[in-house]
Symmetry: C2
Subunit: 324 residues, 2 copies
DNA sequence: ATAATTTATGGAACGCGTTTCAGGTCAAGA
DNA sequence: TCTTGACCTGAAACGCGTTCCATAAATTAT
């Protein structure tokens, strides 16, 4: 295919002039501009973007690191990012990690290699130290409730939100509370678990080990939660659930098993995704999509100011419905 | 940052040799290889990927065109693509279009500009003719039930699946059937609508205009469907619903409004996503994720054989549950 | 022992657009 | 009239890795 030199030759101008036309520089006389455009049209030319990227030293692409796309939380977050990216004319390159560290490192290597201008971590599995090593490679933004001053981060205060949930359940007379978390080994889950144990101690409630349920990520997982519930000797009266999907699963399966919600078992979850509204599940709203747009905007700020490292905590709200 | 020439200089070899080391070519003596690797380590060098892309003339990236990420159908499809892409070490660049044609053209322009090696259309809004113009720009795959021989395409036979749904409802004694579709103007919806009208005519059932409901995309839309249902003078006895999300919304809202499913209103939908299983909704399974992996594999085939244009139709299966 | 390979290595061209610099023209201000 | 600055244009260098070609040494085959 044609290149800029050929266009220049055929249009009878220099490559610089062609480049100027391509980039809408002023300082090109109308007749030369027209000649160039005509030649471009005739040859059906379009610039090689890799060459552009190489010489400009940037690509207007940013990498998005997330464990899985196929989960409402992440796809909503991603949508928030994508909408904002579109406004800035920036392309997204996906790094679906499945929580594997190598995949995250891959994204960082691509950053070092200038394939992407920066990285947004929708979730992170690699240690923070590793991140620091790439600090100079380009702007990075974290979507986590972290206590560091090296990178901008966006999140909600998970522990506070979790406590709000616990307190609300307690205020409704529940003491025997079980919790459903995602990956128990995750930092967030650890923090939540700790908050839970403290709160339970505070109200003088002994915690049963079987009340802490892990691997609750998707709607299907709600089913096994109910099954486990039915087997428990000491039954909790309420579930605090990490996300709406699982809560919806628990809700539906409970009803199917003849349990009344909230009478036999109360359910309180997080996110306020559409499913919770339609099912009338009491939930703590997390502005997931906003999280995404804020993350992207932080990325933009960080791009032009490499010392920008604001930590933004978005608000969460309890939404009372009928499941508690 | 350092480049390959500097590495060469410091390691006392030529750039070709450095390049060979980088690309694991044989024909490099162990001592030179070691010298190069040492220098690379010392300078913390990593190759500029844009330069690699430019000189190789390919990028190992493919563009994915989809209207929205935040919908189970598309995020599952995307996951199928992403998993397969990972195996082939290919990066995905997202083009979220919101059904806007310009965005699709943007993807095609990036293809022409060699930013991506190809494009997978998870959905398409631009006319087919436009697509043809880019045929030579690189491999493209369509996820649609189309009757063309220019590109590989993956889909299920939507009309047949729709007919299966209608026939099943009829076999269960329903004649007064309403349908819920997505964007009525879409090709798929048009085809389904036609199939519906024919089938109704065949069983001698007059079609009420208000039985054809559009804009049914997400779970929330189920609510308005029920509201509209309640207002209808001529009430249908069954709904054939374009996707599980909407069906779940209809189901839940119906129950909330005191309607019995399937006694007062039967529900049959498409997809067999987890939500339908947990809620016991009868559905026609669409192997969404497989659709994605097949699409990617077709892309790979098309990449090495530009005449490959197989049309693959994946099977669909009726899954009987309790909503009909 | 001689011809034919295989193995090693470097030089230079290539892919292609951007940008800097230098040189020139022309009109407005002093 | 002279200066200054805006406007226009092209040559050449730059960003950087890949790859083809040529050369030479070391093996292997005959």
């Amino acid at each position: 295919m044609a290149n800029i030199r050929e266009i220049a030759r055929l249009a009878g101008v220099s490559v610089s002039t062609v480049s100027r036309v391509l980039n809408h520089h002023p300082y090109v006389s109308p007749d030369k501009r027209e000649a160039v455009l005509k030649t471009i049209r005739e040859l059906d030319y379009s610039p090689n973007i890799n060459a552009v990227h190489l010489s400009r030293g940037k690509t207007n692409m940013v990498g998005i690191v997330l464990p899985t796309i196929n989960h409402p939380y992440f796809s909503e977050l991603l949508e928030g990012i994508a909408e904002e990216a579109m406004k800035h004319n920036i392309q997204l390159v996906l790094f679906q990690t499945g929580y594997h560290q190598e995949k995250e490192f891959e994204a960082l290597e691509q950053l070092r290699g200038h394939l992407i201008d920066g990285v947004i971590f929708a979730s992170r599995a690699i240690p923070f130290d590793s991140l620091l090593k790439y600090k100079s490679a380009g702007p990075m933004v974290l979507c986590e409730d972290s206590d560091q001053d090296d990178f901008p981060s966006i999140s909600i205060k998970h522990v506070a939100a979790f406590n709000l949930g616990l307190e609300y359940l307690i205020s409704k007379g529940h003491k025997r509370i079980a919790i459903c978390l995602g990956r128990l080994e995750g930092t967030n889950s650890q923090k939540r678990q700790k908050a839970y144990e403290e709160k339970m101690k505070m109200i003088g409630q002994k915690v049963q080990e079987e009340w802490i349920l892990g691997k609750c990520l998707m709607i299907q997982d709600g089913k096994s939660v109910v099954n486990r519930f039915l087997q428990m000797k000491e039954k909790p009266t309420a579930f605090l659930v990490g996300n709406d999907q699982v809560a919806a699963g628990i809700f539906t399966e409970s009803v199917k098993q003849g349990l009344a919600v909230p009478e036999d078992v109360a359910i309180l979850s997080f996110d306020n995704h559409p499913i919770s509204e339609i099912m009338g599940i009491t939930t703590i709203e997390i502005p997931t999509k906003q999280l995404g747009s804020y993350a992207f905007n932080s990325f933009i700020k960080r791009s032009s100011d490499s010392t920008y490292a604001e930590k933004i905590a978005l608000p969460f709200t309890l939404i009372q419905r009928q499941s508690v």
